[in-house]
Amino acid sequence: MSDRSARPALTLLGATDAVACEGDACAIPSLAEVTAAVEKAFTRGR
């Protein structure tokens, strides 16, 4: 069993609005939105 108090918070990396399935459905932004998010992530990384 995991120890909640010992688990560190995660640092999120990458595009925050990439495509994923949430709940019982999938959030599907347009390809343009995904491309823009990835470009934004790269810009932030530089």
């Binding site: 069993m1 995991s2 909640r4 688990r7 560190p8 995660l10 640092t11 999120l12 990396l13 990458g14 595009a15 925050t16 609005d17 990439a18 495509v19 994923a20 399935c21 949430e22 709940g23 019982d24 459905a25 999938c26 959030a27 599907i28 390809l31 995904v34 990835v38 992530a41 790269f42 990384g45």
Partner: protein
């Protein structure tokens, strides 16, 4: 310096972006390894259970569009549009989804099979086999006998798989994964946890995964040098 990077991936079988994300992650990990060269760390992947729709019956009466429409409360036409879009993205990733043949079902037994496979050193093979069966082959991944067939195809003991699934031997492991996912605050899948410290959500581009792995590896090298 540690010679490996651990990647814990939360995903479901019935999740189109999880299969796409798997392919993109694999491509990103390959690009990372090629960039780093001989000193590249081993990337160790472990899959964790996440049920997108635990209330779905094993024998769901209807197709994927009907399910999506019903559960998301959207018109069937919009659900069909979503499916068309994800099918197109999958195709661009080298995956030929067949939603006409797809059999929507409950995935808790499939998750138990993934844990069984992990205990026998074949989890990565099992994950790929289940996703392929579900999205591209129209195979049923909710019934014990069908799952046992798939398990035997990757070299697992069919009879023992039937026994383990009928006894829910690995159900506690599925629930533990889900509890850990909650602790991490995971609300959507695929979700990647790197070295237990970094989170990456969604089916990111391969280049993004490569960049993230590079960033984590560089950071670790700086700390240990």
């Amino acid at each position: 310096m540690s010679e490996s990077i651990k990647i814990d991936i939360w995903s479901d079988i019935a999740c189109p972006w999880c299969y796409i994300g798997k392919r993109k992650f694999e491509a990103g990990a390959k690009a990372f390894a090629e960039k780093v060269g001989d000193s590249a760390p081993e990337v160790i992947v472990e899959y964790h259970s996440y049920e997108l729709s635990p209330e779905t019956p094993v024998d769901f009466d209807g197709n994927a569009a009907a399910f999506l429409s019903q559960h998301k409360g959207i018109p069937a036409s919009q659900a069909a549009q979503m499916i068309d879009r994800v099918t197109g993205v999958a195709s661009a990733t080298g995956l030929e989804y067949d939603y006409d043949a797809l059999q929507h079902t409950n995935t808790v037994k499939a998750h138990q099979l993934l844990h069984y496979a992990k205990a026998h050193g074949k989890q990565v093979e099992a994950k790929e086999r289940l996703l392929k069966a579900y999205f591209t082959e129209g195979r049923h991944v909710g019934r014990v006998e069908d799952l046992a067939d798939l398990a035997s195809e990757i070299g697992l003991d069919r009879d023992d798989v039937v026994r383990a699934l009928n006894e829910d031997e690995f159900l506690d492991d599925v629930r533990a994964d889900q509890a850990l996912g909650l602790e991490y605050g995971i609300q959507g899948v695929p979700f990647f946890v790197i070295d237990g410290k970094y989170g990456v959500s969604g089916a990111q581009e391969a280049a993004t995964f490569a960049q993230v792995l590079d960033q984590v590896w560089t950071e670790r090298a700086a700390v240990t040098s």
